[in-house]
């Protein structure tokens, strides 16, 4: 497999951004090494703050910096960034509409051997519930770099979810991304697969397998789960009516839920959600955890075939 981790993309993108714009800040909470902000802290110490193991304070400090015109990226793991400081994000970032980014690594099952305490499987749902929050999860290294830059250019609260391990390249460095606009990786008419994040490569393989069996598949990279690209989802409902969502996140409140909400409001179409079956992970290989929850090529293909019957 040729690929790189999206957390590495964050580390590179934030350094490039910081060099160009002295208002870009990184607020770390002692896991800069894991979140790839060490080069930033070394080269741009005046734009770096490390508050130690104190995520709630990190968020508040970032909010204070933002009132003074800074563009802070609070950097930690998805679990802590979404839950340990969720009320701070709500009160001090989203409610006053401040320009703070929450950039988190180790989303989903990817910190596999660390076990359940470090696997951020509810983060997108938590963040999606806060008014005004934008929620992004890039699918590969190149899209991650571009989306970090898009987040920096966007005036408002953004949650970015990265993951630990290398993932295959889906795009190349020339690909363009817009917050809130899904990328159509395949145009098709029998079934729509809507996926995001590291799991995109699994969804892509499933789409190819279905195509090899003679089915026409539409594949969307829904890198922004909020605001959801309603136009892209509506088109899937209108033109296809059969949708499979795939995500490395709890089946509740993430991408699948967001799509289901639209389908329910539309009153037509069917959705099969593939994701974490409302359970915690454990220390185990990433592939095992995906397998246990049916987040596999095989399950996506079978789910599609069931829809065709």
């Amino acid at each position: 497999m040729t690929g790189k981790a999206t957390r590495d993309a964050y580390g590179e993108a934030i350094l490039e951004l910081g060099r160009d714009n002295k208002d870009i800040y990184v607020v770390d909470a002692d896991i800069g090494k894991s979140c790839k902000t060490v080069p930033f802290s070394q080269e741009l110490p005046n734009q770096h703050v490390n508050v130690g193991i104190a995520e709630q304070n990190a968020c508040g400090v970032a909010a204070g910096l933002a009132t003074c015109g800074k563009i802070p990226f609070v950097t930690t793991y998805a679990v802590f960034g979404s839950m340990r400081m969720s009320e701070q994000i709500r009160q001090e970032v989203c409610y006053p509409k401040l320009n703070v980014k929450i950039a988190c690594s180790h989303g989903g099952f990817t910190p596999a051997n660390d076990g359940a305490s470090h696997q951020g499987v509810e983060d997108m749902g938590v963040l999606r519930s806060i008014p005004g929050m934008t929620v992004l999860m890039p699918a590969d290294f190149y899209s991650a770099k571009k989306l970090v830059k898009a987040a920096a250019a966007y005036n408002g609260a953004v949650y970015l979810r990265f993951t630990r391990d290398p993932v295959p390249f889906i795009y190349d460095e020339n690909a363009e991304f817009e917050i809130g606009k899904a990328v159509k990786l395949k145009e098709g008419k029998d079934v729509a697969i809507i996926a995001n994040g590291d799991i995109m490569s699994v969804a892509l393989k499933a789409a190819e397998e279905l195509e090899a069996k003679g089915h026409s598949v539409r594949l969307l990279d829904m890198h922004t789960i909020k605001p959801l690209d309603e136009e892209a989802v509506n088109t899937c409902i209108e033109e296809i009516g059969k949708i499979i969502t795939v995500e490395d996140h709890n089946i509740l409140n993430g991408l699948g839920s967001a799509v289901c909400e639209m389908v329910a409001e539309k009153g037509k179409g069917i959705v099969k959600r593939i994701g974490i079956r409302d359970q915690f992970g454990e220390s185990a290989p990433y592939e095992y955890l995906l397998e246990k929850n049916g987040i596999t090529v095989d399950n996506i293909v079978k789910s599609a075939e069931r829809m065709f019957q």
């Binding site: 734009q47 703050v49 508050v51 130690g52 304070n57 968020c59």
Partner: protein
């Protein structure tokens, strides 16, 4: 203005602030009078003497910042802003009403002079740290004043924030503790004793002072001392105060943490505040 005249002027301002806050809460029919009154003397000293602010230009980049971490006592902040003419005085009658700039807890988006939205306890001090840090890094000379409650110091995040203020040598940060020893449910001593807060802040590495938070001479003096200090440490003033200060039936009574005076109580309260010798 000599020192004595200044203290007399500030006491008179504190009286105006108390009357305005009580009027506001009475009109709204809800709000937090106890902690508003205990903080009134500090607020008078800040808004009528110490803070370098321009009410006509609320977002002036070099202004001193004020963070009301104990956001529920916003009536005393709104009173200060009204009397400093950030908005028309009559606005005070809209507290907590639909569409008002005076939300039940401060909202920076709608109220001029509010530097950060607060209301969830323990969080404001972290934002003050961010503001002070930005000021240092940008080479600006403004200072950041943050009012916290003693009960609020039960929140762990307060101490996270203090640690970071000490680490980054934020001598432009002034933390004022309204040490009235009462909180929502009971006295702090009963609910969760906070101990000697001055010693705690000192142990965390701050330059901390303990004063009588209703003695205007002491307030002015400690603010002078802090302004002149060359120690690269965050400054802390722990002011011993009385919850409900100035209103006979509210002083040290837990229930007046979050209750509005009715018509009769309001009349007595205003009379009490007017009768206090300054």
């Amino acid at each position: 203005m000599n020192k004595n005249d200044k203290a007399v002027m500030l006491r008179e301002k504190a009286r105006e602030l108390r009357k305005t806050a009580l009027t506001m809460i009475h009109t709204a029919g809800s709000g937090h009078p106890g902690g508003s009154l205990s903080a009134a003397d500090f607020m008078a000293a800040l808004y009528f003497d110490e803070l370098n602010i321009r009410p006509e230009d609320p977002k002036w980049p070099d202004r001193d910042r004020f963070v009301l971490s104990k956001g529920h006592v916003c009536p005393i902040l709104y009173s200060s802003l009204a009397l400093r003419e950030y908005f028309p005085y009559e606005t005070i009658y809209t507290l907590r009403k639909q569409g008002s700039i005076l939300q039940g807890h401060p909202d920076m988006k709608v109220c001029p002079g509010v530097d950060i939205s607060t209301g969830s306890l323990g969080q404001g001090l972290s934002t003050a740290v961010g503001m002070a840090l930005a000021g240092k890094r940008d080479g600006r000379s403004y200072r950041v004043f943050c009012l916290v409650g003693d009960g609020e110091c039960q929140e762990g995040q307060i101490w996270e924030a203090v640690q970071s203020a000490v680490k980054y040598e934020l001598d432009n940060l002034v933390i004022i503790v309204d040490n009235n020893n009462l909180q929502n449910d009971n006295t702090c001593d009963v609910v969760m004793p906070t101990g000697d807060l001055r010693l705690k802040f000192e142990a965390f590495g701050c330059e901390a002072y303990g004063i009588d938070g209703h003695d205007m001479d002491q307030i002015v003096e400690v603010l002078d001392t802090i302004r002149e200090s060359d120690k690269k440490l965050p400054k802390v003033i722990v002011g011993k105060t009385v919850k409900g200060k100035g209103v006979s039936f509210m002083e040290n009574v837990v229930q007046w943490h979050g209750m509005a005076p009715d018509k009769e109580q309001f009349a007595t309260a205003i009379k009490d505040v007017e009768e206090v010798t300054v």
